[in-house]
Structures are given as C-alpha cells and as structure tokens.
C-alpha cells in the first residue's frame, strides 16, 4: 500500500509538468488552431529564466580586504554579491536563496512578450496554411530557440537549487497514518504539485468566471460568429497565446530544481506532451490535464521493480503504448470533442 502511494506521489510531479505543458498546447490549439511544436522550447526558456535570475543574484564584485590574509599571505580577496552590497547581507542572502520562486515574477512578462512576438511575428502568417506547414515551421523555431540558448549557456545541465527551506523530504506516510519514514517525498516536488494545481485552477477559473474568458470560450466554439458580433477575437486569441507561453514558462521555472536545465529538455518534454495532448483529446482542456496526470502516474508505476520484473522494459515505453492503444480504441482521445482536427 505504501509503495503504491509513493508511486502515485512520484507520478504527480511529472504528471503536473506534462499537464501544464499540455494545457498550454491545448489552449493554443483550441483558440488558434495551430499545432505548436515550439511549446517545449518555451518550457525550456522558462527553466533558463530561473537559471538567469539565480546567476544575476549571484553576480559579485571583488574587493581586497587588507586586514586579513589568505593562506599564501597575500591580502584576502572577498567576493561580495551585488545584491548583498545593495540590500544588506540578510536581504541579499534571502534573495539568492529564493531566486527560483522569484523568477516566476520575471518569467510572466518575459513569456507573455515572447508569446506575443511569436504569434504576431510568425504564427499569424500560418493560419491559412496546412497543419503540416505549421508543424514544420514551429519545429524549425524550436531548433532555433534551443540553439540560441545553447550559444549563451553551453550544452551542460546547470544546477539550480531550490530554496533551502524546501530542501529535504516530507514524511507523507505519517500524515496518512503509516509508520514513520515509509513514504518520504522530496519537499520541492510537493511544492511543484501544489503550484501546478494552483496554475491549472487559475487558468480554468479565468476561462470560466471572467467575461474575457467567456468570450474566448465562445471564440473557441465559433470564431466567426464572435467576430460578427463585433468583438476583436484575434486580439484575445493573441493574449491566450501569451498566456499559454506564460504557463509553459512557469512550469519550466519551477521544474529547474528538479531537473537541471539544459538546452534540450524542451524537446524531451515536447514529444511526451504531444502524446499527452493526443491521449487527452485534441482541443479539450480537462482532457489534457487528466491525461497528463494519468500518464505521469502510469509512468511511475511502470518503473516499480515488481512491474519491471513482470514485463521488462515497460517503464521505457508505457506512455507510447498507452497512446497507441487509446488512439486506436478511442480515436478522439479521452475527452476529445467531435469534429476537432478530423480531416
């Protein structure tokens, strides 16, 4: 029992990353009808915003302290981060420690801007072209974004630690009435899950309870009629593209402590996220979220030793296998709507 709960928990954090990316993909697809292969790159850019913020807070200058000497007898050189010099030692340390959560504040405008530029500058011109062209141009864009990041940050993964307060594990087993230390779970992953739950809830609430969201939903259902009613639906859809980019960016920022970012993580996540979207049903937001969590949990179950002993190699292919079975038995995915993407 405790092993099963542990696997469910393990699946949750991966599942929440899949769900967040898939949510953004579905938002873009549902509103603009574009298949965005560059969405994984946006996730990656988010992770590198976290890296950048951490680096900025750790930028420091050298001063020579004449009163002390190092082990060679020379005057000691002291590195002082700028943030410590400006805001005092305590505040500076706090800023460095909390740089990953603070990066969220930075990432939202950055990603909105990036999404806006992408949509207005490039994707706008591809609405009338076949889906294959959209896939190809965004695939090219994903390569370009990844390579640009590589030019600036190199190709090695960059460690980005979480705040000290969230290092270590929580003993989930104790809460559920098991013995101590049976289910220990890294604290940052709990935070990640809670964070993504908030974001997903926020996006749904935004679509459900605001006028803006209502118009967007109407536009998703029938774009032409909304246009005829005198609403500039294009502008709102552009905003939704920015929102989807911001969601992917935030997912990336918070994932940086779990998996050290390198320029290719976007691609790794993208392939899986597409599978998630297709399993959930193209164009269905709840489907994307549901499928994200289901596939995340299934994946962690498949990597249990007992299961691996039964069917060797299942942990490597479970997601693709599930996708193939779902697509063949329920061609529209778990919650797909009729008439979406059926040529």
């Amino acid at each position: 029992m405790d092993a099963i709960i542990l696997q469910i928990l393990n699946g949750l954090d991966k599942g929440s990353a899949y769900a967040l990316i898939a949510l953004g993909l579905t938002l873009i697809f549902g509103t603009l009808g574009v298949v965005n292969f560059a969405h994984g790159a946006l996730f990656m850019v988010g992770a590198f915003v976290a890296v950048t913020v951490q680096k900025l807070f750790n930028l420091s200058f050298l001063t020579v302290d004449e009163t002390r000497t190092d082990f060679l007898g020379n005057p000691l050189k002291v590195e002082t981060p700028y943030v410590e010099a400006w805001f005092g030692e305590n505040a500076g340390n706090w800023l460095q420690d909390w740089s990953v959560p603070l990066a969220i504040i930075v990432v939202i405008p950055v990603m909105f801007f990036l999404g806006f530029v992408m949509e207005r500058g490039l994707i706008k011109h591809f609405y009338k072209r076949p889906h294959a062209d959209q896939i190809l141009v965004t695939f090219g864009l994903a390569i370009v974004i990844g390579e640009i990041v590589r030019v600036f940050y190199g190709s090695n993964p960059i460690q980005t630690p979480s705040p000290a307060a969230f290092v270590g594990t929580v003993d989930v087993g104790r809460w559920l009435g098991f013995e101590a230390n049976t289910i220990a779970y890294p604290m940052w992953r709990m935070v990640y899950f809670a964070f993504s739950a908030i974001i997903i809830g926020g996006v749904f609430a935004f679509l459900q309870f605001t006028t803006f969201g209502m118009v967007v939903r109407a536009g998703m259902a029938d774009r032409e009629t909304v246009g005829l009613l005198g609403i500039d639906i294009d502008k709102r859809f552009t905003f939704m593209f920015g929102l989807a980019a911001a969601v992917a960016g935030m997912a990336g920022v918070m994932y940086a402590p779990i998996l050290s970012p390198h320029y290719n993580i976007g691609m790794d996540f993208l392939v899986l996220s597409f599978v998630v979207v297709v399993v959930g049903g193209m164009g269905s937001l709840p489907g994307a979220v549901l499928a994200g969590f289901i596939l995340g949990i299934l994946q962690s179950f498949a990597s249990m030793n007992e299961v691996k002993a039964l069917i060797p190699g299942i942990d490597q292919i479970i997601i693709y296998l599930v996708a193939i079975i779902i697509l063949l038995t329920r061609p529209r995915g778990l919650m797909g709507r009729k008439g979406v993407m059926e040529e």
Binding site: L122, G140, V278, E343
Partner: protein, 396 residues
C-alpha cells in the same frame, strides 16, 4: 525511353551522370589548396552520405510528397534496416547481398505493422502515432532488446561471431563477392586527386535504381491515386474507393527505401546504434525533403545532398578559419564579423540549419526546386515552356 516520357528521361539521365561522375565534379579545387580543404566534397565518406540520405529522402517523398501524410518516425525504419544488415554480417558473412536484402525485407515488415496501425488516423494524429512508434523502438533498442541491439555500445561484428558462410580467403570487411566496399582507386591529375570507391559506386547504383523506381511510381496510376488522396481523401472514399491499401502500399514502399538506406549505411561501416532511430533523426529526414522541395522528383535528393554538404563544411569552420577568411579587412571589421558569424558555424551548425529550414518553410514552401523555378521565371527564360510544364504537372 525505359517507360519514361522525354522530360523524365532527361532528368533521369542527369541524375545518373551526376551520381557516376560525382567524385570528379565534387572536387573542383586542387586538393591541397585552402579552398579545396574547405569546400571539396569529393571524398568517399561524404559522397556515400549524399547518396544514402538521398535514397532515404526519395522514399520519404513517396509518402509525404504524394499523400501528404507527415511521418515523424521515419528514422525507425533506417535503424531497423541497419540492425538487420549488421546481424547478417554477424551470422552469415561480410557479403552485402544478404545484408541489404534482409534490411529491406525487415524494414518492409516493420512498415506493414506500423503502417497498418498508424494509417487508421490522419493529420496530426498520424504524425504523433509514427513518432510514438519510433520513440518506442528507440527506447526498446536501448533497454529490453539489448541482446539484439547491444544497447548503448551499438551493434558490431566481433571475432567470435559465427559467420557461417565465411570462407578462409574472404575479406574481413563488407564486400560484394570479393569486391570490398572500402576498396578504392585514386587518380592524381596535377594538383587534383580523385578517389573512386567501390562502396560509393554500389550506393550510387542503388540511388539510380531508387530514383528510377520513384519516377515510375510518380507517373503510375497508383501515384495518381495517391495524389488524389492528398487533395481530398473524403471525396475518394465517397466515390467508392478504399484508400487504405494505397496508403499502406505507399507507407511500406517508403519504409523499404529507408530500410535500404539503413542497410547501405551498415554496409559502408558495419556498426550501428539506437541513436539512428532517435526522433531528431526523423526530423532531419523531414527537413531534407522540405528543403529540397517535397512532392517533386529531384527535390529530396538535392535537399539531402545540400544538408549533408553544409553540415560537413559548416561544422569544420571555426574561429581561426573565419579570421583567416576576413584577414584582408581592417581589424575592427574583421573582429566584429567574426563575432557575428561565430555562433553560426562549427558547433552552431544546428542553429544555421534551423534558420535555413524556417526560411524555406516560410518563404519557399516548394523548397529549392520552387526557388529554382522562380529564378528561371525571373530571368524570363523558357517562360512559355515553364508555364506549360506547370500546367501539365500541377503537383510539382
């Protein structure tokens, strides 16, 4: 001639001649000159890649160009073909005939299975399904199937392998009834030296045969049927035609082409690894075909050649080479040019490739072939016949 109309025949002859004299025309500069070091492409290892990836792209074009079904998992067939060929080397002998035969057959069987399942869906779903299958093959080759694929080490021939058909005098490298693949003869003419390699010529013959077959398919009733499916599959179904067998046939043929390419890759260098099946490899096949001009006969071959050529020369360029090139300029200009260009060369080759690919998709959906036609029209040459040709073959 040969069942081709005169225009196709002309194209075919051009491809034949290009393939056969490539070792000469790809070496326009003397071997030891600076230009020759940077830009000559007439050495066997690179020319082999030109023709083998050309075969791959021709096969991909039969699927995507004719039917419009975008497969994002084509590298799986290439990988499977390579594995099959290396296994033939391990079990039978270094003769390439059984190896290439088996690689085509295995890839074909593989394509029947994957195609049967994937073709039940179309559009983006088809792309994702093929991608999922290819990724699955890749992951399996790395993990459970290690006894078959030798995992991360990659499959290769060891001394202890049975090789039951091997007789005492046989060469220890892949050969065609005694003619070794890496055997070559070199002709020196002044500063130039031309290398003619057996392996290259075997691949070139396969390229010519593949190209001929693809012309025949393009001009056959089946090719017409596939184009009809591309333009409106629903209508085809409504007029009472079962499109499935045609699609499956196209998919399997295209998979067999990829298997042939995989077998040839293994025949040139008898080792293989799972990374040949990774989805970036599939992406590269897509890029080649699009860049050259998808749906045209010659486009994919051009695209494959161009990409492999650029990859080769651009990866070789580094900062000092750039400095050498711009040495004649004033220092400040040289410095800034080198700084600007540096990210795009050497390791930055993929950045250049990505930008080039995007530019082609945005501005030239018909690829280089369309670009060539546009330039021809610009100069007003053959305006009449060009217009007539376009009217004849709208799909090109």
């Amino acid at each position: 001639m040969l069942g081709l109309n005169s225009r196709d025949f002309k194209l075919f002859i051009i491809v034949c001649i290009m393939a056969l004299v490539a070792p000469i025309i790809l070496n326009p500069f003397p071997t030891d000159s600076a230009l020759g070091q940077s830009f000559n492409a007439g050495y066997p290892a690179l020319m082999q890649r030109f023709v083998i990836f050309g075969i791959l792209a021709i096969g991909f074009n039969i699927l995507f160009g004719l039917t419009g079904y975008l497969s994002f998992g084509h590298a799986a067939f290439l990988g499977v073909g390579s594995y099959a060929a290396v296994w033939m080397f391990k079990l039978l002998s270094y003769n390439v005939v059984p190896a290439i035969l088996l690689s085509v057959i295995v890839a074909g069987v593989f394509a029947v299975v994957i195609g049967y399942v994937s073709l039940r869906r179309s559009g983006i779903y088809f792309s994702i399904l093929t991608l999922a299958f290819a990724q699955m093959s890749y992951q399996l080759a790395y993990s459970v199937l290690t006894p078959l694929t030798n995992g991360e080490t990659g499959l290769q021939v060891y001394n202890g392998d049975p090789q039951i058909l091997m007789s005492a005098g046989d060469p220890k490298t892949p050969h065609l009834f005694g003619i070794t693949m890496n055997g070559q003869s070199q002709i020196d003419l002044g500063g130039w030296s031309f290398v003619f390699q057996n392996g290259y010529y075997l691949s070139a013959l396969f390229l010519i045969a593949s190209f001929y077959l693809s012309i025949r398919i393009f001009r056959s009733p089946m090719g017409l049927m596939l184009r009809a499916i591309k333009s409106n599959q629903t209508r085809m179904s409504y007029v009472g035609l079962n499109t499935k067998p045609y699609m499956l046939a196209a998919f399997v043929i295209s998979g067999m082409y990829a298997g042939l390419a995989g077998g040839l890759l293994a025949a040139m260098d008898p080792l293989t690894g799972a990374e040949r099946m990774f989805w970036t490899a599939s992406g590269e096949i897509v890029i080649m075909s699009i860049l050259g001009g998808v749906g045209t006969l010659i486009g994919p071959v051009l695209g494959a050649g161009l990409i492999k050529y650029l990859e080769n020369i651009i990866s070789k360029i580094n900062e000092s080479v750039l400095q050498q090139w711009f040495a004649f300029m004033p220092d400040w200009l040289e410095g800034s040019l080198v700084t600007i260009l540096e990210p795009f060369v050497g390791k930055g080759w993929h950045l250049t490739l990505g930008l080039l690919f995007m530019a082609v998709v945005i501005f030239l959906p018909g690829g280089l072939v369309q670009g060539g036609q546009k330039i021809m029209n610009l100069f007003g040459r053959n305006k009449k016949s060009d217009a007539k040709r376009r009217a004849d073959a709208p799909a090109e």
